[in-house]
């Protein structure tokens, strides 16, 4: 089993790398044929990631979201499928080039972490594990999309404001499209994030008897949650949009990244068996 799992991971890395480079080629050349190939590659990568996660499940005997490696793979997987589901409804020019880079980056990070099979602490042996972690990571996936959109927005906005049109101007989509992307992905991501926190707190009540006990990861999740809450609230009430929304999406994602990595390495706590 570990053999198959290993091979699958190599395949994931290879296909994702191909998808990512094909998207880059498309970004430079803007030839539609290239984009078609890139899409097929990314979908294949998504399927391979799913298979890898399933094989990992077989291997470790529980939902594979406990070690650092597994968590980041699931994060990449969630981002991939969040993108594909988004792509199914909206078209945002050259979005794939940015997202595939991020997915590749996440997978490289995951490959650097130890792939050892870790024993599951009894407290975690529950069907709440896949629900809580899966939902949270899926939320992260959408927030990652918003992050990419935010970067693209800032790039395009700079071209438009400075009136010096360089390489990116014709290649990036309209500000409006990017702002909508931001709004859509944040809303969906925020809903998943909230569900993740709620399910975690219900699980905590069952496992440890209290809903909330200020474990660093919980605290940082809450901070992240508030950052996004403020942003969404401001969008609906004061019409925060455009550049401000893009910056907030990037800040929010920085908080997500810190919750995921920083907390585990720097602050410890009950969540840090996920090392």
């Amino acid at each position: 089993m570990s053999e198959i799992s290993y091979l699958l991971f190599q395949a994931v890395m290879l296909v994702t790398f191909l998808a990512c480079s094909t998207y880059s080629v498309f970004f430079v050349s803007q030839k539609n044929r290239v984009r078609k190939v890139a899409r097929i590659l990314l979908v294949s990568s998504g399927i391979l990631q799913t298979l890898y996660i399933l094989s990992r499940y077989q291997l470790v005997g529980h939902a594979p979201i406990t070690s650092q490696h597994e968590t980041v793979v699931v994060f990449a997987w969630a981002t991939t499928w969040a993108y594909l589901s988004f792509r199914w409804r909206y078209t945002v020019k050259n979005f794939g080039a940015f997202v595939s880079l991020l997915i590749m980056f996440l997978l490289v990070l995951s490959s650097l972490a130890s792939r050892e099979v870790s024993e599951l602490v009894p407290a975690l042996q529950s069907w709440w594990l896949p629900v809580h972690a899966g939902v949270s990571l899926f939320g992260y996936g959408f927030l990652a999309l918003a992050f990419c959109g935010g970067l693209m927005y800032l790039l395009q906005e700079r071209e438009l404001k400075s009136k010096r049109f360089g390489y990116f101007f014709p290649r990036l989509p309209s500000l409006e499209a990017l702002d909508q992307l931001n709004s859509h992905c944040l809303t969906v991501g925020f809903v998943f994030l909230s569900l993740g926190i709620v399910s975690g707190s219900v699980w905590a009540r069952q496992a440890w008897g209290t809903y909330w006990h200020w474990d660093p990861k919980e605290t940082w999740s809450l901070i992240t949650w508030f950052i996004y809450l403020i942003q969404i609230h401001q969008r609906f009430t004061a019409g925060w949009r455009g550049k401000r929304a893009a910056i907030m999406a990037i800040l929010g994602f920085a908080a997500v990244a810190f919750t995921l990595w920083g907390v585990s390495y720097l602050l410890g706590g009950v969540h840090s068996y996920a090392r």
């Binding site: 395009q156 438009l160 404001k161 009136k163 049109f165 101007f169 989509p173 309209s174 500000l175 409006e176 499209a177 004061a238 019409g239 925060w240 949009r241 455009g242 550049k243 401000r244």
Partner: protein, 427 residues
């Protein structure tokens, strides 16, 4: 048939001011003008293209002053003096007509070079013309050829992707800001010609509404009517900013019309929906500091020029390439037409010789008594051999390509027709 030529007559945005174009008699679809055209007796084939920038007729007919007069009154009605009309009208014949048609189809003659709309309009016009039976073999072939010219130019050059004019640049920017501009509203401050042009282009791209704010309301109302929009007074300017998205300013005012402090509060009311200001007035109407506001984008005429410039470098090269394609296709169509005119001449020549032979035979044979069937046949063969040999030289002359060129072959046809007295009506 001989003497008939391809004639292209028309007016376009270059020759004719819009006041005249809009007064031209053809605004009500194609059916009525096409039937009217068919009524002009001397026209064998015809086709009519009418867009907001041009009205062009393509005819196969024998050119005459009478015909031109008829066409003039067809185009302009009685509303404009004949002499004035002639000034606006351009007339091309044969190869020049073909060339012009191809230039139009390839969008090289458009106000915005490379825009794609014209081909659709051409096809639409052709559909109508052929539905009413106005086109014949020559125009059918010519128009189909023009479509393939347009297609070649589009696929082989990048002319379609390059923007050229200020107004195109404005639209390009608007699309990068708003994505879809179909539900966006445009406010014109001042009713200058440039603003009008830019607005025209935006309307062509399907913006939802045009609002005109002008110091003299009457002129504003007039302009608004053109775009089916509404006019507002100058005092309402700031409140209008709450509703519109794209603002084109071109007043002759010596001072700023809008300042940063005017617009800042508006953005709150707009809930930060973006505003795109285009300032094409000199001196400028809009405070350059507007660009510092969040979600506000301000472009003055120089900024736009730099967008145009960015597009232009590639554009000129592409236009040269496109013109070459047009020239090449004109040449090949010209060659086809030559064939069309040489063939009937050859036919006429043969018919004439055969006619003479038959007439002479009929005169002579009855007088020759005692001829066997075989001998009669031999005489017939001899006669046709003589005519064939006599005709060989002129036919070879007609068909020869050694001298090349169309003008030459027209001259050759003329010579042969004169020498053999093939006349105007050879039927």
């Amino acid at each position: 048939m001989p003497g008939e030529r391809i004639i292209l007559l028309g007016v376009n945005h270059k020759t004719t001011p819009v006041e005249v174009r809009e007064r031209m008699a053809l605004s009500s679809g194609y059916e009525q003008p096409l039937t009217a055209l068919k009524q002009i007796g001397t026209i064998r084939e015809c086709y009519l293209l009418s867009t907001c920038n041009r009205v062009e007729l393509l005819l196969v007919a024998e050119p005459s002053d009478q015909l031109i007069d008829n066409i003039l009154s067809f185009l302009f009605g009685d509303r404009i003096a004949k002499e004035q009309c002639r000034e606006y009208l351009y007339i091309y014949y044969d190869r020049d007509a073909v060339h012009h048609l191809f230039m139009v189809a390839a969008s090289l003659d458009s106000m915005i070079v490379g825009e794609a709309q014209i081909l659709g309009q051409l096809k639409e016009a052709y559909r109508h013309a052929s539905r009413f039976g106005c086109t014949g073999p020559l125009l059918n072939r010519l128009l189909h050829k023009s479509f393939s010219v347009a297609k070649r130019v589009r696929t082989e050059t990048a002319i379609g992707s390059a923007a050229v004019s200020i107004s195109y640049a404005a639209v390009q920017l608007a699309k990068k800001i708003f994505g879809n501009i179909r539900d966006k509203k445009v406010l014109l401050i001042g009713a200058g010609e440039m603003a009008e042009l830019a607005a025209e282009h935006l309307v062509g791209q399907g913006v939802a509404e045009v609002v005109v704010a002008n110091r003299t309301l009457a002129r504003g109302v007039e302009l608004a009517k053109r775009f089916h929009g509404r006019a507002v007074s100058f005092d309402e300017l700031i409140s209008q900013l709450e509703q519109v998205d794209i603002i084109i300013s071109s007043t002759g005012a010596p001072t700023m019309v809008l300042r940063q402090s005017d617009v800042r509060p508006v953005m709150r009311v707009r809930r930060n929906r973006p505003l795109f200001f285009i300032d094409i007035a000199v001196p400028r109407d809009l405070d350059p500091d507007l660009n510092d506001l969040e979600n506000v984008y301000l472009y003055d005429i120089d900024d736009l020029s730099s967008v145009v410039e960015m597009n232009r470098t590639g554009r000129e090269r592409e236009a040269v390439k496109a013109t070459r394609i047009v020239d090449e296709m004109t040449l090949s169509f010209g060659r086809w037409m030559e064939g069309m005119t040489v063939t009937p001449t050859i036919l006429a020549l043969r018919n004439k010789a055969d006619g003479i032979c038959r007439a002479e035979l009929e005169k002579t044979l009855p007088r020759l008594t005692g001829l066997s069937e075989e001998e009669r046949h031999a005489i017939e063969v001899m006669l046709s051999a003589i005519t064939a040999k006599m005709l060989h030289a002129p036919l070879a002359y007609l068909k020869s390509e050694s001298c090349g060129g169309r003008d030459n072959s027209e001259a050759k046809i003329d010579t042969v027709r004169t020498i053999f007295d093939l006349g105007g009506d050879d039927q």
